[in-house]
């Protein structure tokens, strides 16, 4: 219980502390939350379900091993976000600290809730902090871009709300286990529509190909910390929802109906995102499209609903969080020091900032999924699963490796080794160095021992389904 409520309490306190210690407060709060979850996980039997009930009618919590993985991931991401931005101006604002902690609460609630309405409530709850963070700290020239992001998200959410209401009415159930047991096959086309509502909300968040247009501009204009939060953890809400809620519940004709459309959109996203990324001149925009490409792969593979693929996609979800924190941190460092992210104005940074050059390279290779990093395990097995489904999809999906190499190497090579255009560049702050080191170690550890996640998660993902 404290695991979920801790960030909320810290978030409330954060409004009342003086601005000059807010960055230390944020760091301490996220460290405590992370430490608490690590302690909790050491006492946690992977095959049990912790039930938490605050006496609310529509919102109850239950923590299983998948939920715990996501809790750990969330707390780690928030710790890393606070740590990596320790040297930037945003953490001096207590508003940011408080909103980020509130968002952490929303995410923890989403990953642990046991009721379908609770899922919707926490899904929406995360909107409030991210909206305020983007609005207050983002560099949006016009509110139009921000409103576009919200238009997409709200349309998706309302479609999901309709589906939630419909699902609760038709099955007369609201908890996860009861919904799993409910017979949705007999609903026929209605269940296809209900699943469509959920998928629309998820497609906006992931994002899938035609719903991605908010992504690039939001990522580029948002503050680095906001981009990290969005990409490292908020998008995972949709993948988590797909993995834990929608696919198991709608197992049967609804999933069969939506499988190939979603896989197609995922594949289009893989190739389209990568091709657009190659042509980008702005570093953050490039990483935004790279993210589109990577997440398309996970979404497509998830739709196959193959037990092993589900396990591996959790590894890939964690890996993508690592990669996106690292890459957006690198982009943020460059933007913070030089005031630009345009590739044509950058060059030769590695000469003046060798530490940065080294760690950015490590993260680039993690993102390229070279062997011995978590990305290799993830992408290899996901692409293999897509090959097994159909050779053609496998071939299309594997283009991500080749195209990914093109844009990632360009994103690294031009600013770091290109013709010298940057003469002075302050090298890494200790906080940034720590973050890069943690990320690299985590990526390599997961690359060597992915089973520490898959074995743990297997307890909740390989439950007997009907």
């Amino acid at each position: 219980m404290a695991l979920i409520l801790l960030p909320l309490v810290f978030g409330m306190i954060a409004w009342f502390i003086p601005g000059n210690i807010s960055r230390i407060f944020g760091l301490i709060a996220s460290t405590v939350a992370l430490a608490w979850s690590i302690i909790a996980v050491s006492y946690f039997e992977p095959n049990e379900h912790l039930l938490v009930d605050f006496g609310l009618r529509f919102v109850r919590f239950s923590v299983d091993s998948l939920g715990f993985t996501m809790i750990l991931l969330t707390n780690a991401v928030f710790f890393l976000v606070f740590l990596s931005n320790f040297n930037t101006s945003i953490v001096h604002e207590k508003r940011f600290t408080a909103l980020a902690l509130l968002m952490q609460f929303g995410l923890l609630g989403l990953f642990t809730t046991n009721t379908i309405l609770g899922f919707y409530i926490f899904w929406e709850l995360t909107l409030l902090p991210i909206f305020l963070i983007l609005y207050w700290f983002g560099a949006f020239d016009k509110p139009r871009a921000l409103l576009q992001f919200f238009l997409y998200t709200l349309v998706g959410s309302l479609a999901m709300l309709l589906s939630v209401i419909g699902l609760m009415h038709l099955t007369n159930q609201q908890t996860y286990d009861a919904l799993l047991a409910a017979d949705l096959q007999s609903l026929g086309n209605t269940s296809i529509l209900l699943m469509g509502g959920f998928l629309l909300a998820f497609a906006v968040k992931i994002p899938l190909f035609p719903f991605h247009t908010w992504q690039a501009e939001t990522y580029t204009k948002a503050p680095t910390a906001g981009t990290m939060l969005l990409s490292a953890i908020m998008l995972k809400m949709a993948l988590f929802g797909l993995l834990k809620w929608v696919l198991p519940i709608f197992d049967g004709n609804a999933t069969d109906f939506w499988r190939w459309p979603v896989i197609t959109l995922g594949l289009v996203g893989i190739i389209y995102g990568a091709v657009i990324a190659i042509r980008q001149q702005n570093l953050k925009t490039l990483f935004a499209y790279a993210s589109l490409s990577h997440l398309g792969l996970i979404a497509a593979a998830l739709m196959l609903q193959n037990g092993d693929t589900n396990l591996i996609s959790v590894v890939q979800i964690v890996n993508h969080s690592i990669v996106s924190i690292g890459l957006f941190l690198a982009a943020g460092i460059i933007e913070n020091r030089l005031g630009t992210q345009q590739l044509d104005q950058l060059g030769g940074i590695a000469k003046v900032a060798p530490h940065f050059g080294f760690w950015f390279a490590v993260l680039t290779f993690v993102s390229l999924s070279v062997p011995f990093t978590a990305g290799f395990i993830g992408e290899f097995f996901l692409i293999k699963a897509l090959f097994n489904a159909h050779t053609f999809t496998g071939i299309l999906a594997s283009t991500t490796l080749v195209l990914g190499a093109v844009y990632m190497l360009k994103a690294y090579q031009v600013p770091m080794f290109g013709p010298t255009k940057v003469n002075s560049f302050q090298d890494l702050h200790w906080s940034e160095l720590t973050v890069f080191a943690i990320l690299s170690i985590a990526a390599i550890y997961l690359g060597l021992a992915p089973h520490c996640i898959t074995d743990f998660v297997a307890h909740s993902l390989t439950q007997p389904t009907h």
Partner: protein, 443 residues
Amino acid sequence: MDSIVILFISGLVGLFAGMQKKPLLSIIIGSIGLIGAGLAAYFKGSYISPLSSYEAYVPTQGLIVILLCTVTLLAILGGYKRYAADNEHTGDYLALILFSLCGAILMAQPNDLMLFFIGLEILSIPIYVLVGIEKGSSRSAEAAVKYFFTGSFASAIILFGIALLYGATGSFQLIEIQSNLAIGIWQSPMAIIGSLFLLAGFTFKIGAVPFHFWGPDVYDGASNAVLMYMATVVKIAGIYALVNVFGQVFRDSYGFWIDLVSLIIVLSMFYGYITAWKQISFRRLIAYSSIANAGLMIFALADTHNSNLFLFVAAYAFATIALVVINSIVNDDTDSLVNWEGIAWRHPLIGIALVISLFSLAGIPPFAGFFGKFSLLWAAVPHVPYTAILALIASVIGAFVYLRLMMSALKKPSVVVRSPLSLEQSLVLSLTSIAAIGALYFI
């Protein structure tokens, strides 16, 4: 019945205190009266009332009376600054509001159409006066005249509807009307026209399309202090009366009017939200937002047995009052949204109350507005699924209206101006915020 008597007496006493130029005293008397009326409703039945023989005439549920009293209490506290500034009329404001509230309680859940009509008039006539209470202002006078003429017209239509129903069924009692209609009379032209007239009159009173046109002008001309009362209590009483009369009397002709009602819902929501988007005046924006919210409230008609209207109207009323109180801090004489820029930075409480109220109105969890909307839609979806889908699409537009207002209010100004809040304003803002979050525990 006790509540009404308490309100009436405290209104009278408050009126005399106001005549002695003691605004604080009169507001205290009014507050005590409201709290007393709420308590009387809460403990109804658990003590022996001298008026128990009249109880049957006012069957309004205790919960609704408490809601109406609470909302009015917040409204008079929020508007106190204005009343006190207008030293001549403090007692008038207070007494008129309390008298009007008596009418609201009388009409909210009627069992007799005649008493309902009397309640309606007791509710409306003080408001005609309140709208025009600023004698010097031409806008106020214009609004009062407009409201008076259109309001009387609507009352006449309702009265005509009641007369037709009486002609068709021979009774004013809702139960008798229902049992007479049930044997097939509802298909007679007289009963059908009567029900349509009633529907039109109700639509007018709660300000839904197509009888919404008075709203923006009247809200614009009324002062903030009056608006707080008018935009909330009138709607709550009106919608409860509508649900009660239609749910009880016309449930056999459900299939006949539900399509019409769906049309009213959809039109109100789209019209209200789309028009609110381009407003530059805050009170007009609130007027259009209230048109859209009236549309949402009518969803309660889709299933009158299961609908949980209470949460939604309470959330709407609290959020609206908080916003109007905030508006009265910057915009007491003028009324422009330009002044809202950076308003959240003037005081932390303003910022918190503003964000919570706007998110609550936009229907985003975990605030009361979401649960209100959810419980309305929850009951309505099985009956009118397509209307619910359209309503949700309209609420996306609505969310943008509120987000836009919020963005302008949260914009950090170059120079942060602090404006102190008076005690009663901070009380209203904190209470409304707590209510909006606390609703989580009542679902």
